[in-house]
């Protein structure tokens, strides 16, 4: 297994109290595999990724438990210098907003080349040639001429391509993409997602796609982990989760998306609001919003039940949820 996150806990110490952002997350990614992490804002999907990358702001953040095994090695036990070596070379991240993640006063060639100068000790000239090669690879037209351009001279889709180029510059074995196409228009979204999937296949990387929109990742993901209030509530292969969700939250989420091919009456809406992380409800965190909640849901935190070989659901009533189809 390339990456294994085991029982990860992350807290944020704020003036109002302790916000429990991640409460025991488990997931794993193999080489060449794509995992989509689906969740709404505040579900802990980005915080988990930041902890894996080692870019979590500490303080206020604090990893209070768990292991992050990367190629068998627990990253949380490494010294900062050792982690820095892994970051960039072994794992890289693509952020949502390319414009604010790129340095506006350096040309894209300088930013891409920096990777090779710092990590590979290349000369500036060689690094520049490498940059052009990378830009070609992510299909930026006229790469040779554009390598000296600044980020603002590129369109949104192109900037995201540069981010992708930067992430794969050193051919890492794991890439984490945090909402990589959210800021893009639909017609460009598909181009970028396809590019990402293609490069992943080529380099046989592990890919974690963090998203709030199942539709965007459905074509490229192998499996999906749905997060709610800092926990994984369901994991399953993409097709099965859509056909028959085994957790009421997943089910509600899928039903509340309006469909392109039909004009229904009223949209199904999950009642209530996502929980405040300072006061996560006891028992199952979803119980105040759940149509199936019973007494046991208010007292006992549901474990990740095994639905079948590939599927898990953190619902006491996963059987009933599945059967309701």
């Amino acid at each position: 297994m390339l990456l294994e996150v085991r029982d990860l806990h992350v807290e944020f110490h704020t003036r109002e109290g302790v916000a429990k952002a991640v409460n025991g997350v488990n997931y794993s990614v193999a080489e060449g595999e794509t995992l989509a992490v689906l969740g709404e804002s505040g579900s802990g999907k980005s915080v988990t990724a930041q902890a894996v990358m080692g870019i979590l702001d500490m303080p206020p953040g604090k990893i209070t438990g768990g292991e992050i095994l990367f190629k068998g090695q627990d990253l949380l036990k490494l010294k900062p210098e050792e982690r820095r070596k892994i970051r960039g070379q072994e794992m890289a991240m693509i952020f949502q907003d390319a414009l604010s993640s790129l340095n506006p006063v350096l040309t894209v060639g300088q930013q891409l080349g920096e990777m090779f100068v710092v990590h590979r000790g290349m000369s500036r000239k060689d690094a520049r040639a490498k940059s052009v090669e990378l830009m070609d690879r992510v299909r930026i037209p006229a790469a040779k001429e554009r390598v000296g351009n600044y980020p603002h001279q590129f369109s949104g889709g192109m900037r995201q391509r540069i981010m992708i180029a930067m992430a794969m510059a050193l051919e890492p074995s794991l890439i984490i993409a945090d909402e990589p196409t959210t800021a893009l228009d639909v017609t460009v979204q598909a181009q970028v997602m396809d590019l990402l999937a293609e490069l992943q296949r080529e380099l046989n990387m592990g890919l974690i796609l963090i998203t709030h929109d199942l539709g965007v990742v459905a074509d490229v993901a192998d499996k999906i982990a749905v997060m709610y209030a800092g926990r994984i509530v369901e994991t399953a292969p993409v097709h099965e989760i859509y056909k028959a969700p085994a957790h009421p939250y997943t089910k509600g989420l899928l039903q509340s998306i309006p469909r392109l091919d039909q004009k229904g009456q009223e949209l199904y809406a999950i009642k209530g609001l996502p929980p405040n992380l300072l006061h996560i409800p006891p028992g199952c965190a979803f119980n105040p919003r759940c149509p199936m909640a019973q007494d046991v849901c208010r007292t006992d935190v549901p474990p990740l039940y095994e639905v079948d070989e590939q599927r898990r659901s953190a619902c006491h009533f996963w059987k009933e949820t599945l059967d309701a189809h």
Binding site: R139, S155, V188, V238, L260, D261, P274
Partner: protein, 428 residues
């Protein structure tokens, strides 16, 4: 203007009361007619002696009608001018040219008292509920502020009650009247924005991306609220969004915008099930669909390149640089927004306005009932008409002319969206 409202009526009667000040107009006529609407922002050069060197043609000739009680959806990518249209409708921007007729009267050139009277009837709901509410004002002050400007709507003593009624109408606890915006979640804030839009009992509400900043599970709640309010208060909506699924859900008619123009407009079924403009077809085919069955059934048209800069709009058809059907005629002749000649005589939903020289019907979204959906029984496994390939993305659909040489985004010669004036793709 007189008012005989008591002001302490219950939530729903408060607003559904006849709008007695409304100007009479013939039944069945559009409540709002937009004709050849344009907004050009000048591009200047020089500091002391500014010369105009061009213009960003953000909106460049938009026509549509809005009927009473109807929802018109406007969709398009960023930079297509849809928000500028919204801002002109509520008079936050003055049009460079064209007319906005509210019940037959052109309001685009009004000012002073006459403008104020019209504005009361056309209100706006903004996209971002985090920045469109003043953090230093209480919810009561925010929702009640319109009454300061239009005191005739609610006499001073009755305002608090009215604000509480409005909170109730949008599904918030009336006791929250003294709270501040930061004490609410995104979805609740958007409800506050909607309550403010309703405060003056308007006839038309212009909603600019009202749900796109919200989480999926909350989005549905707000969409349902808008649906309910429309029925309850017989509002007319102009609903602007980039999310095609939500627009279909809420709209009676849909207009598709590209680079400052409407390229296709019609009823929701006409646009979604029988699109005839290639841009609409591409846009629909690009929408991410979570349903794996639906994905396999549909054909994906992947457009090359980015939207050209509105400062440098291509000649002829403005979509031709990304269109796989483009021919010489598209470069020379601007296609008009009208029913295409080949559909003029047929009795089919394809007969609707589409600005394309080579319009042809192409179904990209599989028909309802053809697919298995969660909680529904599986339908027959039918291939959608007009679909030639299943599941596979159709790349390189034809040769798009001299502009797009290779796959991938081609911004040579063209700027990126949202970068007016800056020739994003100009290679040195």
């Amino acid at each position: 203007m007189h008012t005989d409202r008591t002001g302490n009526a219950a939530g729903s009667t408060l607003l559904s009361k006849a709008r007695e000040e409304s100007r009479p107009y013939a039944e069945g006529e559009p409540i709002l007619e937009v004709r050849d609407l344009a907004k050009h922002y000048p591009l200047t050069q020089g500091i002391l002696f500014k010369r105009q060197i061009g213009a960003v043609r953000a909106v460049d000739g938009v026509d549509f009608d809005l009927h009473a009680g109807e929802t018109l959806g406007i969709v398009g990518e960023s930079g297509c001018g849809k928000s500028t249209v919204a801002r002109m409708l509520v008079h936050l921007e003055r049009p460079t040219a064209g007319a906005i007729r509210y019940k037959g009267e052109d309001i685009s050139k009004l000012s002073g008292r006459a403008l104020k009277a019209v504005r009361r009837n056309i209100q706006m709901v903004f996209q971002d509920p985090y920045t469109s509410l003043n953090p230093r004002m209480t919810v009561g002050d925010i929702i009640g502020e319109p009454y300061e400007i239009h005191p005739e709507v609610a006499p001073k003593g009755s305002r608090r009650q009215r604000v509480q009624d409005l909170l109730d109408v949008v599904g918030l606890n009336p006791e929250y009247i003294n709270r501040y915006p930061h004490q609410f979640s995104g979805g609740q804030r958007q409800r506050i924005g909607i309550a403010r839009g309703l405060a003056l009992n308007p006839e038309i509400i212009v909603a600019d991306e009202p749900v796109s900043a919200l989480d999926v599970s909350v989005q549905a709640q707000v969409v349902n609220l808008l649906d309910r309010l429309q029925a309850e208060f017989s509002l007319s909506f102009v609903f602007i969004a980039h999310d095609l699924s939500i627009v279909r859900h809420i709209s009676d008619r849909v207009g598709v915008m590209y680079l400052g123009r409407i390229v296709e407009i019609g009823s929701d079924a006409e646009i979604y099930d029988h699109p005839t403009h290639p841009y609409t077809q591409a846009l629909l085919s690009a929408v991410p669909v979570p349903d794996p069955m639906a994905r396999e059934h549909r054909e994906r048209i992947i457009l090359h390149g980015d939207v050209p800069s509105p400062a440098n709009i291509p000649s002829g058809c403005r979509f031709r640089t990304r269109c796989w059907k483009a021919q010489e005629r598209c470069e020379l002749e601007v296609p008009l927004l009208a029913v295409p000649a080949e559909f003029r005589l047929v009795d089919s939903p394809a007969r609707h306005d589409s600005a394309c020289h080579f319009a042809e019907e192409k179904r990209v979204v599989p028909l309802e009932g053809e697919l298995e959906t969660p909680g529904r029984t599986p339908g027959p496994d039918v291939e959608a008409p007009g679909t030639t390939t299943r599941g596979r993305p159709v790349e390189d659909v034809g040769e798009p002319g001299e502009d797009v040489g290779e796959p991938g985004e081609d911004v040579g010669k063209r700027g990126g969206p949202g970068e007016p004036g800056e020739q994003g793709g100009e290679t040195p």
